[in-house]
Amino acid sequence: MQNALKDFEKFDPQHLPLFEPLAQGHRACQGCGEVLALRLAAKALGREMIVVSATGCMEIISSAYPQTAWRVPWLHVAFENSAAVAGGVDAALHIMKEKGKIARDDIPILVVAGDGGTADIGLQALSGALERGHNFIYLCLDNEAYMNTGIQRSSSTPYGAMTTTSPPGKLSIGENHFKKDLPAIAVAHKIPYVATVSPAFYLDLMNKVRKASLIKGPAYIHAFSPCPTGWRHAGRYAVKMARLAVQTRVFPLYEVIDGKYILNRKTPKPKPVAEYLKLQKRFAHLTDGDIEIIQEHVNKEYERILKLSEEVDLETKFTSTFQQHIDRLKQQMDEAYQKMREEIVHH
């Protein structure tokens, strides 16, 4: 386990911080699950942070000049380069602190990008910045399509979903690929912290963001972000969707700390994926057979994560049993030595 997380203090649900770095009054759609995830992540970090935003929904809804919803320093440059920009901010803070030009460099940098800005056009910049080990928290707000431009598919759009560029038709089921596994790509960079979060599990989300801020080096957090506008469900269902996605195993909540998987919320009795799919019009065209394919894929992915996290469990168990054994042996040796000493003194 990371040293930085040794004395980790979770948020107390009864005493959550009151300060909202992302103010109310922004222009997000009614029931937006994405802005909820962003607001919670920002709240977890508080007043002392710098936000670097990619172009996307969260950028346009929060920054239309002359207004801004941001109470903390915020920088937007372009769509595909937020990780590179954040790397520059990180490097500047450190070298300027070293040269005595500024007083502090321990300010968390929160990078905010959508699934398009992360999985597609921003993937190269993200990979480069992760490889270089910049100290930032990259928050991918995954609403599973290009919502800002009018619901076009991204490589994070799930199998079977209808978007304006993956319409179902005589020859098409809709989106015909399974979504790109971004957390796994982040893990492959061997960064210290990767996590998935959901706005329906707000304490889990905030705690993970706080953990990410304590760890040195890059952290990647993948946030499930229901989009009533793009997913075609009632605005009041955003949190319900986020919860159902976890309960149906569509979006398992897990952490990967120094490469070790921890499944945070096991769902031994999952709800069928149909329950999640049927509330969204983007999946309305799917047949029972199509849903069966999705169910199988979800089962397989969940099993994969579960297995990875159990490997850690086994290893932890083994390590702790082994340690107990050693401790016992040590104690026996100490006792024997003490006994010998006493006998010698006695003589």
Binding site: R47, A64, G88, V89, I95
Partner: protein
């Protein structure tokens, strides 16, 4: 005292960057920019330059990284060429719109295709509208000095714009020239400390790079243009003080044997030296030929240029970029635009040469002058003339 020594121009440039107390350098290798950033990374590795050197994964990320660093308040530098500059294209406009003081060297090289690593100006001529201050250098000394000018200008609180120093690839970057190099204490107080009024600061949170709705977009662009136009005074003041202190004077437009010239060559960059030899040759033959060279390209030094060419009858404007489908190269187009509304302006003829590293010779300039004179009486052959085109 500064000492004059033979040095590769790329190394001289990196030494100037070293002396400018830069904080963050981000770069991606591309020929012929490489020697500059290699040397800088060496200086950082040896502790001779206290800076963060970030090896990024593309030029797009190089410019993005220096933007992030500059927004955080750091003094920043990057360098690129050709395809690398083209890859930065989208972000260059944002750098000036964010009013960030970044210094970049462009080792000018042809744009693909076909792919060519050799010198011309097609990379930078595709970036005319980006809102950066831009200068062109003729010699190694000028390139070295220009780095100090650039850092001084971008650090001026009234400017807050990025600046490009154009250094011709290979023909200048890789040439060993005698250059006066400063001792650190000599140049130190010429450069102001890097202090950025607006930066990402938790004590004074600001929103940088917001959405420009139709009601504000026009004004936002106009503000950048005003800043760019106003920067000329600061650039000229920086040159003036430099001249007074170190004896090397610079002006937005340089003239060579131009006062009484009937025909003027109009050039930029390193080929101007070859053009001056051609001018000398004509002068020896008793012909009134001179040369005018742009050092400052953005903002366009209209008044200085008009003044420099006022008495000439014919201008032969050289472009090192072919603007496909246009009426001539971009320099010639702007020269025409600068003169068109003047009552008695010279005749202007456009010439394109030295593309993709094709050698530019004294004879080429003699040919250009003779053609320009012929065009003035018999009319031009087409919208512009491509010099040295071989029959294929």
């Amino acid at each position: 005292m500064s000492t004059r020594m033979p040095i590769e121009v790329s190394i001289a440039v990196s030494k100037a960057v070293q002396q400018a107390d830069v904080d963050v350098i981000a770069a991606y290798p591309i020929t012929p920019q490489t020697h500059i950033v290699e040397n800088l990374s060496g200086l950082v590795a040896n502790g001779e330059l206290e800076a963060a050197f970030i090896n990024v994964e593309s030029e797009h990320s190089a410019i993005s990284t220096v933007i992030g660093a500059a927004a955080a308040g750091a003094s920043t530098f990057t360098a690129t060429s050709s395809q690398g500059l083209a890859l930065m294209h989208e972000i260059l406009f944002i750098a000036s719109s964010l009013r960030l003081p970044i210094v970049m060297v462009v080792a000018n090289r042809a744009l693909s295709g076909p792919i060519s690593i050799w010198n011309d100006h097609s990379d930078i001529m595709a970036e005319r509208d980006i809102g950066w201050i831009q200068v062109f250098c003729e010699t190694g000394q000028e390139a070295y000095d220009a780095i100090f000018h650039a850092f001084r200008v971008v650090r001026d609180p009234t400017v807050q714009l990025p600046m490009i120093v154009n250094v011709d690839g290979f023909n200048l970057t890789h040439v060993i020239e005698p250059v006066f190099l400063f001792e650190p204490e000599e140049i130190k107080d010429y450069l102001p400390e890097h202090r950025q009024a607006l930066r990402l600061d938790i004590e004074h949170p600001i929103t940088m790079g917001p959405v420009g709705v139709p009601e504000v977009y026009t004004e936002a662009k106009k503000q950048v243009e005003e800043a760019l136009l106003n920067s000329k005074q600061v650039v000229m003041a920086a040159w003036q003080e430099f001249g007074q202190r170190f004896g090397r004077s610079y002006a937005p437009v340089e003239a060579y044997r131009a006062d009484d010239a009937e025909v003027l060559l109009v050039t930029m960059g390193v080929i101007s030296r070859t053009a001056m030899t051609a001018v000398d040759r004509f002068r020896e033959a008793g012909k009134a030929v001179g040369l005018v060279r742009f050092r400052l390209w953005r903002p366009f030094p209209r008044a200085e240029f008009q003044e420099a060419v006022r008495h000439a009858r014919i201008l032969a404007v050289i472009d090192r970029h072919i603007s496909l489908g246009a009426l001539s190269g971009p320099v010639c187009l702007e020269v025409r635009a600068a003169l068109f509304n003047l009552p008695d302006h010279p005749q202007v003829f456009g010439f394109v040469l030295g593309l993709g590293g094709r050698d530019v010779t004294v004879d080429d300039f003699c040919d250009i002058v003779e053609r320009a004179e012929r065009y003035a009486t018999a009319g031009p052959e087409g919208d512009y003339t491509l010099i040295g085109l071989r029959e294929v």
